[in-house]
Each structure stands twice: as structure tokens, then as C-alpha cells.
Subunit: 235 residues, 2 copies
Amino acid sequence: MDKKSPIKITLTERNDAVTITQWVYQTLRNAVMYGEILPGRALTIRELAGIMDVSPMPVREALRQLAAENALEIQGNRRVMVPKMTAMKFNELCEARIAIESHAAARALPYIDGERLEQLRSLDSLIDQAQEIGNLEQISLLNQNFHRALYTANPHQVTLPLIESLWLQLGPFMRLANNELDEHYLVDRHNEAMAAIEKKDAYALQIAISADIREGIAFAGTPEMLHALIENSGH
Amino acid sequence: MDKKSPIKITLTERNDAVTITQWVYQTLRNAVMYGEILPGRALTIRELAGIMDVSPMPVREALRQLAAENALEIQGNRRVMVPKMTAMKFNELCEARIAIESHAAARALPYIDGERLEQLRSLDSLIDQAQEIGNLEQISLLNQNFHRALYTANPHQVTLPLIESLWLQLGPFMRLANNELDEHYLVDRHNEAMAAIEKKDAYALQIAISADIREGIAFAGTPEMLHALIENSGH
DNA sequence: AATCATTGTTTGTGATCACAAAAGTTGAAA
DNA sequence: TTTCAACTTTTGTGATCACAAACAATGATT
């Protein structure tokens, strides 16, 4: 029997085209991103291997990769866990997002052609639809796709991996605000961004992206997460 | 016999306090950082294990970790190599450094106390000494330490891992300019940064850090690297 | 009752092996 | 000479095992 709190991980269908390590990596990455693993909970290789019904080897490699991306933390004890969050660290992560993503947006702007613009418009309207329904997970996913589509317009892009690392670290503690006021603001910011892109106005785009990030991030986690967020803020 | 060009890797003393994987990781990381491995050259686990006289296992883990940090690239063929550089990508990496590091500097400024200021001054004068002698490797190392000491003044720092990733990617292609004119500028920029820190002027600090990065980066690699830098720029 | 040494268990690390995919080589046909 | 198929070798992936360090539990001593 497990002495610690049990771990629930959403298992996706395993595609034979990808290696087991890749599948384990994606599964664990999603589990971290969606806050399925409690921060501070020790993760052991054999336990995860048992849950996912694979040998310890792919789990070892996936854990090391996630640790290298700052999604997991390896302590001196060689123990692996989701890093605990503090209010100050949360704020630093948000400010880092704003600095890097507004830079990435400005750098991508000159490369946005008609096709890319069409793709962005399509994502924008999909987000509007998802907001009508109120599907928060869908909104979050589409919002990521919108930002990714914007930054990857730059064919020499180098910051996306860094941005994804920040998303991973914020993931467990980040939810789109679900009250109507913030929804309204969100729509406006996206429209602002689209307008700035069409006018090729880099500065306006940075303003819009910054505002989108700042207003789109709101803490709405579970009580356990809220507790984990606060408990160590004095350290 | 090896069919490919042989790989020379500087082996450091192995400390019994660290695991073999950590030692392999640091060794390979240094090899990448100092451009000892030709971009595009395929790296095989067994070959590296043979060179470093360890089993394939630690090499596997170190390679995966370096790939997650964007220091190495895993192709679809499952082949691992140092990513090839292009002029555009080089430029993007430099601009990303400027954006992120000036942000990190501004965020660290409020936390710089007397002790940290003393440490920065000490590093600054050490850099001056190294420049008198003309020891480029020492200058590069001390310069990194200076930047690191500045950014880590912020106890809630989250961007250093991202910055180190950029350093790693630029490493093989980055050398401090060694003509006297640039040396002179470098000294000035450091002094500017120190002055901005003492005056707690965040904007002036960002200007100084940006200038330091922009002027401190100059391509001065080997002919092979220059060739590797250019050959694929059209792709 | 509290502290510390001791014992038993769990866990990460590193080595070795089997296997399938990829790369490299050879040789024949055009 | 060039092209393509068959064969051989190399290589990454994944599984299993041995071992030492870390952890948890137990018991003795003050």
C-alpha cells in the first residue's frame, strides 16, 4: 500500500509511432501542466513506472528531461518533485513571460504574412467561441496556440523553448479568469493584438501582448495549490 | 578506426562527491560551450562513453539533459549533434540575450545590497586585470560570473536557467573581441553598469547591460565554425 | 520521555543485455 | 558510371540486475 497520497495521472492513448520515452514524457508533462501532481510530493521512478505500466528506464529519461526544463526539481537528496510555488516567484514568472513574449512578438511581426494572419484570425475566433461556452481548458489551450502561432512566424525563432518552460512552471498555478469582466478584457486585448499586427505596429503589439498576459493570468487553483503557493512564501 | 573526424574532449578531474552522470554532463557541457565539438557532427552514445571511459548509461542521460537545454539537437533520425548556426539565428540569440538579461538585471537591482555590490566590484576589477594580460578565456569566464552575480541578487530569480541556455547556444560561436578598441568599450560598459547599480537607476542599468552584451559578442571562431555558420544560412 | 545508534527497506545510479531501426556497404543490373 | 536491392554493421531504445546511498522503523541508553 502507498503511504503517501496517491498520484492520479491522465493516461493518453499510446501511439506506436513514438517511443515509450516520448509518450511517458508527454504524459508526465501534461500531468504537471494541469496540476495533477501536488507540489512537493516526492516522485519515485518505480512508482511512476508502475502507474504507467512501463519499465523504469523511460521514466528516468522523462524525469531528467522535465527537470532540465524546470518543470520538475531535483533536490540534493536526488528526490524529484514539482517545485513549490511562492507568491514572489509567481510574480517573477509572470514578469518574465511579459518581457520575453513581448520581445518574441515584436521579433515575429515582420515575418507575418497573409497565411499566418489568417491562421491567427481563425484561432482568435475559436477563442471567442470557447469563451461563449465557457470552456476554460479549451480557452487555455487555444490561447497557447495563438501565442505559439504568433511567435513561430519568425523562422529564426529561438525563444519558444524558453517561453514553453515558463508556461510549464506556471501551468499548475495558472487558470484563465472566469468572471465576465475579465473575459471582456481578454477579448479586447486579442483584438488589440490583431489590430497591431495588421498595422505592423510593433510597439502596440507589445503593449497588447503584455496586457493579455497580465490580465489572462489569474490564480484559480485548488485549495491545496493555494496552500502550497502560500505556505513557503516566507522562506 | 574512426571513420568520422575524431572528437577531442577536455576531461576534467572526476570528483567522487558527484555522480558519474553529473561529471559526464559537465564535461560535455564544457565541450559544447568551448566549441570542441563540430556542429553537425553526429554524436553517438557508445563513442562518447568510450572516450570518457564510462558506461553508455550516464552518457545517455547527459545527452538528453543537454538536448532539453537546447545545447544539443535530437533529429528525427534519433541522431544527436551540436545544432548548426546561421547568421540570422545568431542574431536572434543575441537579441534574446539582450531582452532577457536586461530584464533580469532590472529585476535584480532592488535586491543588491552592500555585500553583493562588493562582490560585483571585485569581479569587475578581476576582469580589468584579465584584460590587461589579455587572457580571453579568463575574461569570458569572469564576465559570465559578473552577469550571474548580478542576476542572482534577486532571490526569486527564475530567468537564469533560460539565460544559461542562451549562453550555451552561443558559446561555440562567441568570443570576446580581442582588439584594443573593443576592450576599451568593454571596460566603459562595465563601469557604466556599476555606476547605474550604485545610483539604483534601472533604466541606465538596462542600457549598460544591453550595450555590454551587444559589444561583448563578436564572432571570432575557427574557420570550421565560420564555415558551419555560413553554409546553411540559405536553408 | 527523549535522543541516538542500529537495522531493514526503499530508491537512484550505473552496468549489461536483447532487439529493432537506421546507417553503411557490397554487388548486380542497366 | 550510375542506381537500386540485399546484406552487414552500428546505434538508440528499453528491460533487468547489482549495489550503495538515503530513508523509515526499531530498540537501547541516558
